[in-house]
């Protein structure tokens, strides 16, 4: 009876430990990846997003040439990959400033000095060649074109769709939840340690059994993380996102696949750790049984 009760208690503690391990892993991923701007900057670099943005914007302004009369060559300098990087950086920075509670909104004001200079130069040259007065109407037309170009470039550089996320209310929720996430790792970590300690106290005389229960918990938690992450990767599930912009699609799916890959790696490491713990449990158990056999033989 006593053994049965101890076994059932161990099962319950192990179940709690399983979900505790999963919660701890998710907390580490949330703080280390999802809420860490460095992870997003890495995606921008790995996916060559600024190159994709440059191509897309060049095509756009080429198509617009017939309507606006402004040749795409006017925008050439502004549309270079290295000049688009600061715009992408600032939209990312503003996204996290908002989520962290530092900024009141996600509006960005990138530096478009080069673009405005090139447009002004073209407009003034055009006005001089065609005898157009540089009056208020001229400045108004110039400003309109600058604003339209800046708006388009900023929108294309918003690779993680900050605007859409904000409109959908997701960013607002993330901003509210963020202060609580600071406690995630300490709380889940402390709870995990507490469960390990309780299990240890139950099996302090038979440490091999403690290793066994911990190994079983680690194994099951790793399998529960591995199965969905492997399925998501194998079926390319995130490709179902229908996003018109190639760079946004690459950014979003790149981030999600990266996250999934990390979970898979953690899960595989967890399984390896579980196997090691089982081996240690086996060794400790063998040593204990030998000691007991020697003790029994003496008596």
């Amino acid at each position: 009876m006593k053994r049965t009760i101890k076994y059932l208690a161990s099962v319950i503690l192990s179940l709690l430990l399983i979900f505790s391990f999963i919660a701890l892993t998710c907390s580490v991923l949330l703080r280390g990846r999802a809420l860490n701007p460095a992870a997003y900057h890495r995606i921008v670099a790995e996916q060559h997003l600024t190159d994709k943005i440059s191509v897309r914007l060049t095509n756009y302004f080429t198509q617009q040439e017939n309507t606006t009369g402004i040749p795409v060559s006017v925008y050439a300098e502004s549309l270079k990959s290295e000049n688009l990087e600061p715009v992408v950086d600032i939209t990312l920075r503003k996204l996290f400033d908002y989520v962290y509670g530092v900024a009141p909104d996600t509006e960005t004001k990138p530096d478009f000095t080069v673009l405005e200079g090139d447009l002004r130069k073209f407009f003034e040259q055009y006005a001089e060649e065609n005898g157009i007065a540089r009056d208020a109407a001229f400045e108004d037309a110039l400003r309109k074109n600058m604003d339209a170009a800046e708006k388009k470039i900023t929108a294309e550089c918003d690779v993680f769709k900050t605007g859409s996320l904000a409109e959908a209310g997701l960013l607002g929720k993330a901003r509210k939840i963020y202060p609580l996430t600071v406690w995630l790792i300490p709380v889940t970590g402390a709870f995990t340690l507490l469960l390990l300690l309780i299990l240890f106290l139950m099996y302090r005389r038979t440490v091999d059994r403690w290793f066994y229960w911990v190994a079983s918990s680690v194994l099951v938690s790793s399998i529960l993380m591995l199965v969905p992450s492997a399925w998501l990767s194998a079926t390319n599930w995130f490709d179902r996102f229908a996003v018109k912009s190639e760079q946004i699609f690459a950014a979003v799916t790149g981030f999600l696949y990266g996250l999934t890959h990390t979970v898979t790696v953690y899960a595989v490491c967890g399984i390896a750790a579980a196997v090691l713990l089982y081996v240690i449990a086996g060794i400790c158990g063998t040593v204990r049984h030998r000691k007991e056999a020697v003790r029994n033989a003496k008596h």
């Binding site: 192990s14 017939n66 309507t67 407009f123 109407a137 074109n145 996003v243 018109k244 190639e246």
Partner: protein, 229 residues
């Protein structure tokens, strides 16, 4: 004996326990997932990341068909024409007419359908407007910086002729028009009346305009090359 039986059940428990834990934890996970508000998360993900348009470009699947349209007048060729006749309905992307206006030296192909790629090649007829030869308002637009640069130089009474493979359609300019880009007054259906509406962007200094300018023409003659059966 009892000790051996205990040892056997102990070993069995050691083997079964991880599977039992997997079953219990897996079941609890599935139950929790079914009760969790995942539809809310999915809704947000759809709003944020699902564009209405496909991931392909605007021209995915577009077949552009350019062709030579005979613009020789029927009198010159001795071809017999008919006031009513067969119409060959065009498909999106097909160049199905040639638009001419001698008063401004205009001679441009007309594509059925309008997008940036077709506008780069010629004038475009909106698919919602009447096909040439049918009753209604034929609406054609083009870029002011290219094919319709002299459109506003057309005067009342100037002749505008559209040639197709199945007939020739002559119009006369009735009025000059100007409207906001959101105004559908000149672009809509005209029940029982045959019109031709040509429009383009009002030339600004540079850049996009919110105003559209052009001409509204009345039908003068329909000349089909093949009669109705």
């Amino acid at each position: 004996m009892a000790e051996q039986s205990q040892k056997r059940s102990s070993k069995a428990a050691l083997i079964i326990t991880p599977f039992l834990l997997l079953l219990l934890a897996g079941g609890m996970t599935v139950l929790g997932w079914s009760l969790a508000p995942t539809h809310t998360v999915e809704k947000y993900l759809n709003i944020a990341f699902m564009d209405n348009l496909k991931t392909q470009t605007e021209t995915a699947g577009l077949q552009i068909l350019q062709k030579e349209i005979d613009t020789a007048d029927a009198e010159d060729t001795g071809k017999k024409t008919y006031p009513e006749g067969k119409i060959t309905y065009p498909v999106f992307g097909e160049q199905y007419a040639q638009l001419t206006a001698d008063a401004i030296g205009l001679n441009v192909g007309v594509f059925f359908g309008s997008n940036s790629e077709l506008l780069a090649l010629g004038a475009c007829q909106t698919t919602q407007s009447a096909v040439l030869g049918t009753v209604g308002n034929v609406v054609i637009d083009a870029h002011v910086n290219t094919y319709f640069s002299d459109l506003t130089k057309l005067s009342v009474g100037d002749k505008v002729v559209l040639y197709t493979d199945y007939g020739r359609f002559t119009y006369r300019v009735a009025e000059s028009i100007s409207f906001d880009k959101t105004d559908r007054k000149y672009l809509g259906v005209t029940e029982g009346e045959d019109h031709l509406t040509l429009y383009t962007c009002k030339p600004e200094l540079l850049g996009n305009s919110d105003v559209r300018v052009g001409v509204r023409c009345d039908l003068v003659a329909k000349e089909f090359y093949e009669p109705l059966q």
